[in-house]
């Protein structure tokens, strides 16, 4: 998923590109949300105990609806205007990656069976998460839910992230909400991570600024795309032995992927064959997206209370009282005037740096902590659970 190690690389080499933001600060902003990715996350996380996500009485999954409904409501209440973008047809180049994912899912299914027999609870939970698959039905139900909530939906012809980036570039939205760093490769001016995380997790929202990414890494937009390809993206295999740090040094030194490959010690590094990087580059730079007039006008309507009750309560066994309460809150927040921002009156914000004290640069943040810490925790969990560590 995404670009390998890009988060860490940015944390180390372009610390200024990422700012922490408070959820409430996004009031009045239009935000393109990568729907498919979030539906997957909801299915994995929301209400999961052991092997089970949330289901209706009929046994249908409802984790995605639960997550989508409450998070979207939260945004609407805060005055945020989300627009959900759904994936279209996956690009041909992604087939390999998708095949790998299916394979991993099959492996996980087997491991899950095994874990169920040996009875490691932690393992059952872990492997069952990996078997999660977003189906057409999940997507369809989410579309229906969003329409009932009055939230606009955009169907991307291909990759949702690319579509979000395009909308952001055209100024239709303020930023792209996704967890995938790919969005930056598609040059979205602003990438917002953790926007859809549940409040209870209390993770700060990270906002990445594309221009500052380039500035921090000292790369041109083209070089940045090359860097992402070299780090490892969804479209191509990786070159063994080249991680984020080395990829950055190589691109900075040689200036382009062609020259990096030409100068690579073929005895030391194994470039996958074929390595159609030019095509991957085109995927990032000229993705298949809706542009300009082809994009629908965005409108946020009132939530349809009766429709939501019928769908969520009658069909999916949600609590009627809760649903009605949330709908009431959403619709009440619509009548409130929105808070203005000073820049809409006084023109754009400029940056000013301190002149004194500049010698004492802040040390680069320790690798964003998160990725590494979580992984350590997982490994610990597995060995403690006495599981199948091969």
């Amino acid at each position: 998923m995404g670009i390998k190690n890009l988060t860490k690389l940015l944390g180390d080499h372009a610390p200024g590109c990422c700012r922490e933001q408070a959820f409430d600060n996004y009031f009045g902003r239009r935000i393109a949300v990568d729907a498919s990715m979030h539906i997957y996350q909801f299915l994995v996380v929301v209400g999961r105990t052991g092997e089970q996500g949330l289901t209706s009485e009929a046994g249908d999954d409802t984790s995605h609806l639960q997550g989508m409904f409450y998070r979207t409501a939260k945004m609407l209440e805060a005055g945020i205007k989300p627009v959900y973008v759904f994936d279209g047809k996956p690009p041909a180049m992604k087939k390999q990656e998708l095949a790998k994912r299916t394979e991993r899912r099959d492996e996980a299914t087997e491991a899950l069976e095994e874990a169920k027999e040996t009875g490691g609870e932690a393992d059952v939970a872990k492997y069952s998460k990996r078997t999660v698959r977003v189906t057409q039905q999940h997507n369809e139900e989410c579309r229906r839910l969003l329409r009932l909530m009055g939230v606009p939906v955009v169907e991307a012809p291909s990759e949702a992230e690319a579509q979000c980036a395009q909308m952001c570039k055209e100024g239709m939205v303020y930023g792209t909400a996704s967890e995938d760093m790919d969005s930056l490769t598609f040059a979205t001016p602003k990438l917002i991570r953790n926007l859809m995380k549940p409040v209870t997790q209390n993770v700060p929202i990270n906002e990445y600024d594309y221009d500052k990414v380039l500035e921090g890494l000292k790369l041109t937009p083209d070089q940045f795309v090359d860097l992402c390809i070299l780090c490892g993206c969804d479209y191509l295999g990786t070159i063994k032995g080249i991680g984020g740090m080395r990829a950055l040094t190589l691109i900075q030194k040689h200036g382009s992927l062609e020259k990096v490959l030409a100068n690579l010690d073929s005895g030391k590094y194994d470039v996958p064959d074929p390595f159609p990087y030019e095509e991957a580059r085109r995927m990032f730079k000229e993705p298949e997206v809706l542009r300009g007039d082809a994009l629908p006008a965005l409108k946020w309507g009132a939530a349809d209370e009766d429709g939501l009750v019928k769908f969520l309560v009658e069909d999916k066994n949600f609590s009627e009282e809760r649903i009605r309460k949330v709908v009431e809150k959403i619709n009440a927040s619509r009548s409130k005037a929105t808070q203005g921002r000073l820049e809409s009156f006084f023109g754009p914000v400029t940056m000013k740096s301190s002149t004194a004290g500049s010698k004492r640069k802040e040390p680069p943040k320790p690798a964003k902590g998160k990725g590494a810490a979580v992984k350590k925790g997982e490994v610990g969990g597995v060995s403690k659970g006495g599981g199948k560590k091969k």
């Binding site: 933001q21 600060n25 005037a337 808070q339 000073l342 940056m351 000013k352």
Partner: protein, 264 residues
């Protein structure tokens, strides 16, 4: 080299109290003109702009323009250690990475040095255009503070409407509504107790009370406050600090949303 000595040291303390809840850190600008700060809250709804002119200090020296990044909460912690009547001197080297606050008691018996580490920060700035406001209201600052506080217990937002007779503050909330009208007055014994209205055309704007209450923390700095408003522009809430400068707050109004489609 920057050095500034202020007999009324309590002033800095009050200034910090007025801004530290609004912004977390900012770049203080030192130039021959004076010691100033412009900073915004993270949501870009409000902006504070303050300036202490060099001629208001007892001693002021600034060889080169410098911009010092400071965390306001930390700065406030240090200034809190000064007594109100202490003489405060700020000192910083051009290339240094600290600023020193020196507090001298009135009788010179107690002298303390507090050294604050400077931070290298990028602060967000706005170019504020010069505007002729169509309505300005000058009123006692304590009156303004009380209105904001009282109304905040009823509602979240306040509609401020200025007419030639007076200025009306209205709010409504779940429990009910409230209106407070202050009439133009010129009869009070002390000039600062009067309310003066200068208006070319009536104006009415809605603001979040949360911010106005935060601005009102500047009340101890000045007996009067001036509200300047024009249609569809941010309000300016200004406190003039006698003989030395001012602190002004800009607040973006609430606006009607056009993208909400009500026909569905």
């Amino acid at each position: 080299m920057f050095e500034a000595r202020l007999t009324q040291g309590g002033l800095l303390k009050k200034l910090l109290d007025a801004v530290k809840d609004l912004v977390t850190d900012g770049n203080f600008d030192c130039s021959t003109t004076g010691f100033g700060l412009q900073a915004m809250d993270t949501s870009h709804v409000s902006l504070v702009s303050m300036m202490l002119r060099s001629d208001g200090f007892d001693h002021y020296r600034c060889d080169r323009n410098i911009s010092m990044g400071m965390n306001l909460a930390n700065m406030a912690k240090m200034l809190k250690c000064a007594n109100d009547k202490d003489i405060v001197t700020m000192k910083a080297e051009d290339q240094g990475d600290t600023i020193t606050f020196m507090f001298e008691s009135e009788n010179q018996e107690r002298i303390s040095d507090f050294e604050l580490k400077l931070m290298d920060i990028d602060s967000e700035q706005l170019g504020i255009p010069d505007t002729e406001y169509t309505a300005t209201v000058r009123m006692p600052s304590s009156e303004f503070q009380r209105i904001c506080k009282d109304l905040a217990s009823i509602g979240d937002t306040v509609l401020i409407s200025v007419t030639k007779d007076g200025v009306k503050f209205s709010t409504s909330g779940d429990i009910g509504s409230a209106n407070i009208t202050i009439r133009q007055s010129t009869s009070a014994d002390k000039p600062e107790d009067n309310t003066l209205i200068d208006m070319q055309e009536p104006v009415a704007l809605t603001f979040a009370l949360r911010y106005l209450n935060s601005f009102a923390k500047a009340t101890p700095l000045s007996p009067t406050v001036t509200l300047s408003m024009s249609k569809e522009l941010p309000v300016v809430v200004e406190y003039r600090i006698s003989d030395i400068g001012h602190i002004s707050f800009y607040l973006a109004p609430k606006i009607e949303d056009e993208e909400m489609d009500d026909n569905e």
